[in-house]
């Protein structure tokens, strides 16, 4: 189709390299503090998967379908899926990752890949030129992040 790439994008090669490197590095990281997960709830409580689902599916709030597939979000008027493909498909994500691993990937995905396009959902510092309406605010609060983690773990 017009506009599609003739060949796989360079960045997927980069992503593959990063994944390989991380896999190779895991044994030597095993003895250190866990870098691949945030095991404890940010609020000390479990989130609510129903609220989490509403946040995840909201393109203005959780923003997830802008980049990720695997979320049931219906069709656009054009017949096209309203889900993006910039990030991994989230089908079965709760089978692939623990709650702690999901939490880290939402709170600080750059800890796993400094070049990732995915923003930190918790960060308020170290950002450039944030619009005044969003200044000093994270994309999601700690409670909302826990709700999202609770929902994602149900995607089996």
């Amino acid at each position: 189709m017009a506009g599609s790439r003739p060949s796989p994008p360079k960045c997927s090669a980069s992503v593959a390299v990063v994944a390989l490197v991380l896999a190779a590095a895991l044994p030597c990281l095993a003895g250190e503090e866990p870098r691949d997960a945030i095991p404890d709830s940010l609020t000390g409580r479990s989130g609510d998967p129903q609220r989490g689902r509403a946040i995840v599916l909201d393109r203005q709030h959780g923003l997830c379908p802008l980049c990720h597939g695997g979320l049931a979000t219906g069709r656009l008027a054009t017949g096209r899926s309203p889900q993006g493909d910039l990030g991994p498909d989230l089908s079965g994500v709760g089978r692939r990752w623990t709650a702690g691993q999901l939490r880290l990937r939402i709170v600080d995905p750059s800890r796993l890949d400094p070049g990732t396009i995915m923003p930190s959902y918790a960060r308020t510092e170290g950002l450039a030129r944030v619009a005044p309406a969003f200044s000093g605010r994270p994309i999601l609060t700690a409670e909302q992040i826990e709700d999202v983690v609770a929902f994602l773990t149900t995607l089996q």
Binding site: G3, P9, K10, A13, V17, L127, A128, A131, F134
Partner: protein, 255 residues
């Protein structure tokens, strides 16, 4: 040791994301369906034609303290302005900051016609800019990238690479690294400004490249660059240089 290896390879993978090779560049028009392309190419169907009619009337209207029209100095727009828009923004040989086409038109108004500058993004300025840009349709974008221009192009590229806003995104992450993929239901274009000012169905009107940049920045939850600001013109200069050699299709139609 392991950490060093991880860090080194991560850096290498970051460096691998790079500019789109010249031969792989595609304009937004190439990603559109045949209906929109036909609308763009047919002067009687292209909605920007309404602005061009206004622009032609403005071209020959005498105004300002000098009582002069554009035509009094420049004559027939179809000959005097052929290829002009393809060279903008231009860099001042005296080392001053780059100037885009809108600013150049306003400079003519204030110095030659001795009339007030038109408001940026106003209908009259878009009409005149569109009329001038139309005279470069089909011609290759030819941005001067000589020694005087290099620092400004580099500064524009730095803005293109800078992560901004609450979503912490750079222009390059979408338009260099992920073009052709989808953001929501929309295909991400490479972002080559071949057709500005252009008619966007989403806007129901003609708009400038700077308006489009502001839309993207709003989506990144960043504070948009003000119209005519130094940053906006630098980014415009870099993007036009990045599209060097590509044919102009202004005033274009886009979804």
């Amino acid at each position: 040791m392991c950490r060093l290896l991880v860090a080194g390879l991560l850096l290498w993978s970051l460096a691998a994301a790079a500019e789109i090779p010249l031969a792989e560049r595609r304009s937004g028009a190439a990603m559109m369906g045949p209906d929109l392309r036909a609308m763009q190419e047919d002067d009687s169907a292209n909605p920007a034609g309404l602005w061009l009619l206004d622009g032609a009337a403005l071209w020959s209207r005498r105004l300002g303290e000098a009582g002069q029209s554009c035509a009094d100095c420049h004559g027939d727009v179809t000959t005097s302005m052929a290829g002009v828009a393809a060279r903008y923004p231009v860099v001042d040989l005296a080392g001053g900051p780059p100037m885009d086409l809108e600013q150049r038109i306003n400079l003519c108004r204030t110095t030659r016609q001795q009339a007030p500058a038109l408001a940026l993004e106003s209908r009259d300025l878009l009409a005149l800019t569109g009329l001038v840009a139309r005279q470069s349709r089909g011609l290759a974008i030819a941005i001067d990238d000589g020694p005087a221009a290099q620092p400004f192009i580099a500064a524009g590229r730095a803005l293109f690479l800078r992560r901004q806003g609450q979503l912490n995104l750079s222009c390059a992450q979408c338009h260099d690294d992920n073009w052709g993929r989808h953001l929501g239901g929309a295909v991400i274009p490479q972002g080559h400004p071949t057709g500005y000012p252009l008619y966007r169905l989403e806007w129901q009107g003609l708009g400038s490249l700077q308006r489009r940049l502001r839309n993207c920045m709003t989506g990144m939850r960043a504070e948009p660059y003000a119209y005519g600001s130094a940053e906006a013109v630098l980014l415009e200069l870099y993007l036009r240089w990045r599209a060097r050699g590509m044919p102009m299709d202004a005033p274009a139609v886009r979804p």
